[in-house]
């Protein structure tokens, strides 16, 4: 072997060594992040380094404060929190971690609607084995039903979204609109607004299928029959008379030009609300926080916001519905499920932590320690110009909420419902036919996924 060859071989070898060193380095840091309780990967400071650590994924805007409060108060366990993204982004990472069998945190923030899907993938621990019933009394039966399946409990509720009608007091006054208490009155008010050259009464956005689901539920839809005692069997009922009435009603509002059909949760929509393009916003208890903080200022000049109970189909039998809401669940990849359950039960549950959530308008707490507290009911809400919105509207709505059974394929259902809502908006289908088609699509899908459809 001559000199040149030798030099070439040595330098190539050196390159290779560098490469393997690189990858060896990469794999150790990878291992560090999978063992997520490693203190270096936490986004918060650990107060008691000797205590066992529980890793948590959550995206509450004030979670940093909450975790600090929790860690200072717990010498026996420390939370190691990181933000894996909001909603769908986090679920995508969690799904990947489930498929890989590694990489999930011990405790994860999930919205109610995705719980059955992750239960079915055996990604969540049944908390009844670890004493979840200790905190059952802290929540309303509706909130507890949302996290339960059969006799099992898969998460601890934190935040809810009882629905109400947020409206622009200034616009109502200007056009002489009285607060509608039924959907018929809502339509009459919309007609009156339009006749007087006023703004839209509201908005029917195709990207809020959860909102539309809640409104159909209000009129008697019981979309899913599903629980984990027979996880291969599901009942689907999306095209009952009540749901069709709701779909036809909104299609009527759209065809008369009484409501807008913009996608929600974007700058255009929030900007439209600030500038007085809409007289009402049918939304949930978290909406004031979204509109005054995360969503950008919906408090344009002269905008006076107030809130009233959700209009009803039948005022003699009022129905309370929910949009959104989040929980803390324990994953089956948790190293110590008992300890993780303790964290799920106690994180965002102490008075100080919940008070911070209320003060920053981050959550609408479901814990009775807040719902039943005098200070919560009598707190004037700045967004509503000092209206005691919680006591007047949201607490009664939450207490009347009966709970909901979600399907194990909520994301797919929402994507199909969005398509149906587009056909309703574009009038390419009637509200009734859109729901009939949706029913058959979802039945076909459930069968293809191996479910027995009842």
């Amino acid at each position: 072997m001559n000199k040149k060859t030798l030099v070439a071989a040595v330098s190539t070898g050196a390159l290779l060594l560098g490469l393997t060193a690189c990858s060896a380095d990469g794999s150790t840091s990878g291992a560090g992040s999978t063992a997520a309780a490693d203190a270096t990967s936490c986004s918060n400071t650990i107060v008691y380094p000797d205590a066992p650590k529980v890793s948590v994924w959550a995206w509450y805007p004030n979670i940093n404060t909450v975790v600090d409060l929790f860690n200072k108060a717990h010498k026996d366990v420390q939370v190691c929190w990181s933000n894996a993204g909001q909603g769908g982004d986090e679920y995508a990472k969690f799904s990947t971690a489930i498929a890989a069998g590694t990489g999930a945190p011990d405790v994860i923030m999930l919205e109610d609607e995705v719980l059955p899907g992750f239960e079915l993938q055996k990604a969540l621990v049944d908390l009844t084995k670890y004493g979840s019933d200790d905190v059952k009394a802290n929540f309303s039966s509706g909130a507890w039903k949302d996290v339960s399946s059969g006799s099992s409990v898969y998460a601890i509720p934190v935040d809810g979204g009882p629905m109400a009608m947020i409206y622009r007091k200034d616009i109502f006054t200007k056009y002489g609109i009285t607060i509608p208490t039924t959907w018929a009155e809502y339509e009459a008010a919309a007609v009156k607004l339009k006749a007087a050259g006023g703004p839209f009464m509201g908005d029917f956005g195709s990207n809020v299928p959860a909102w539309f689901t809640a409104l159909m539920t209000q009129n008697g839809q019981t979309a899913w029959k599903y629980d984990n005692s027979s996880p291969q069997s599901i009942g689907i009922a999306l095209n009952d008379a009540g749901s069709k009435e709701v779909a036809t009603y909104w299609q009527g509002l759209i065809s008369q030009g009484l409501v807008d059909t913009k996608d929600q949760f974007n700058t255009d929509y929030v900007g439209g609300m600030a500038s007085g393009k809409y007289a009402t916003y049918i939304s949930a208890a978290w909406a004031p926080g979204y509109l005054s903080g995360n969503g950008g200022a919906a408090t344009g000049p002269g905008a006076e916001w107030a809130v009233a109970p959700l209009p009803q189909w039948d005022t003699s039998k009022p129905v309370s519905v929910n949009w959104g809401g989040s929980t803390l669940a324990v994953t089956t990849q948790a190293k110590d499920p008992a300890l993780a359950t303790t964290v799920a039960k106690e994180l965002y549950a102490s008075d100080a932590e919940l008070k911070d959530g209320v003060d920053t308008q981050t959550i609408f707490p479901l814990s009775k320690s807040v719902l039943d507290a005098e200070w919560f009911a009598s707190t004037p809400v700045a967004f509503f110009n000092g209206q005691k919105a919680n006591g007047e509207v949201y607490i009664p709505a939450e207490n009347a909420y009966k709970g909901y059974t979600y399907s194990p394929f909520t994301t797919y259902y929402y994507s199909e419902l969005t398509k149906a809502m587009v056909t309703i908006i574009k009038q390419t289908s009637t509200g009734e036919k859109a729901l009939d088609d949706l029913q058959s699509t979802m039945s076909t899908y459930a069968k293809a996924q191996g479910f027995t459809v009842q």
Partner: protein
């Protein structure tokens, strides 16, 4: 592939070499080349390892996944080509493929026309303005696709965008570009500007490679500038044009970023199966169907392969030295 030029010239070369010398040298050189063979492998090893670890093995694993099927309520079972049969009869997948094919058919000629015209104009100008214009046409490509899409989202906004100002001048409501009727044109516009600059640079470079004496000859023969552009320049850069056509075709069939970014403001126009790539992404990460998502990805790969093959086959006679 053997180069016909070397096979032709080697007998001639051998004929001039003395027979004895060549026979005595040959074994030695062969031994040397064998002993040096492994050094070549060493040199490509850094690339080869990365290639195998990060490209070949994930592809192989995805292909393996695509042969199994798992329903939400059932266990994993081997289904062989069953998933592929399902994919090519799945209306969601087929409508996505149909969309990207239509998109490619309209987009590519437009993109080509814009980039070719820009390159020809810039090539015949030598002012400072030409340099500036070249930079400006290229800038959209330098902006990441995600940022570019967000910017277009604002430009299209009926309440914030410039369209609103323009239409209010004539007392009209600004059109809603991001809805299911106009989304095709809206996305088309974004992608044309995103890539036109990049293709313009490729064409421009090819034009710069042409020997200027050819233009001189054309001028002496009485060709005017337009004839030089269309009859001399364009035919001489066919291979560059074919190259960017292939790039554009593959890129368009894998359309993902722009619709994914614009989805939240598209008023329901961008569905979960809008393009095959978006469908694969949603299947895997939203609907928890990794196996079927792998199948969709490979099926898209098959579609891309067929489309590129048909394209290269149909331009075989006309193109220059792109693949030889």
């Amino acid at each position: 592939m053997t180069n016909p030029a070397t096979t032709l010239s080697s007998p001639g070369a051998a004929a001039t070499t003395p027979q004895a010398a060549s026979t005595s040298k040959k074994p030695q050189s062969r031994r040397r080349s064998v002993s040096r063979g492994w050094i070549g492998w060493l040199f490509i090893a850094p690339f080869g390892i990365v290639f195998v670890v990060f490209l070949v093995s994930p592809l192989a694993y995805a292909f393996y996944l695509s042969l199994f099927s798992k329903g939400l309520a059932t266990g994993t079972i081997f289904s062989g080509v069953g998933n592929y049969v399902k994919a090519f009869t799945d209306p969601e997948f087929l409508s996505g493929v149909w969309f990207v094919l239509r998109f490619a058919v309209v987009l590519i000629p437009v993109q080509m026309a814009v980039s070719l015209a820009a390159a020809l104009v810039l090539d015949s100008l030598t002012t400072r303005l030409a340099n500036f214009s070249r930079l400006m046409i290229f800038v959209p490509y330098a902006i990441p696709a995600v940022i570019g899409s967000i910017m277009w989202g604002f430009l299209y906004s009926p309440s914030f965008g410039p369209l609103n100002n323009l239409f209010s001048l004539i007392n009209q409501q600004a059109p809603e570009i991001l809805n299911s009727d106009n989304i095709f044109g809206g996305l088309m516009n974004v992608v044309v500007w995103q890539w036109a600059g990049y293709y313009m640079i490729i064409i421009y470079a090819a034009l710069r490679g042409i020997d200027p004496s050819i233009y001189e000859a054309a001028r002496i023969d009485g060709a005017n500038p337009r004839q030089i552009a269309l009859r001399v320049k364009v035919p001489m850069i066919t291979s560059a044009l074919v190259l960017i056509l292939v790039f554009a075709l593959i890129g368009t069939l894998q359309f993902f970023t722009e619709p994914q970014v614009l989805k939240p403001i598209a008023n329901g126009a961008i569905t979960a199966s809008f393009t095959p790539n978006i469908y694969a992404y949603n299947l895997a990460f939203q609907f928890s169907q990794f196996n079927y998502a792998s199948t969709i990805s490979f099926s898209l790969g098959i579609v891309v392969f067929i489309a590129v093959y048909i394209f290269l086959f149909s331009t075989r006679k006309r193109r220059g030295g792109f693949s030889s």
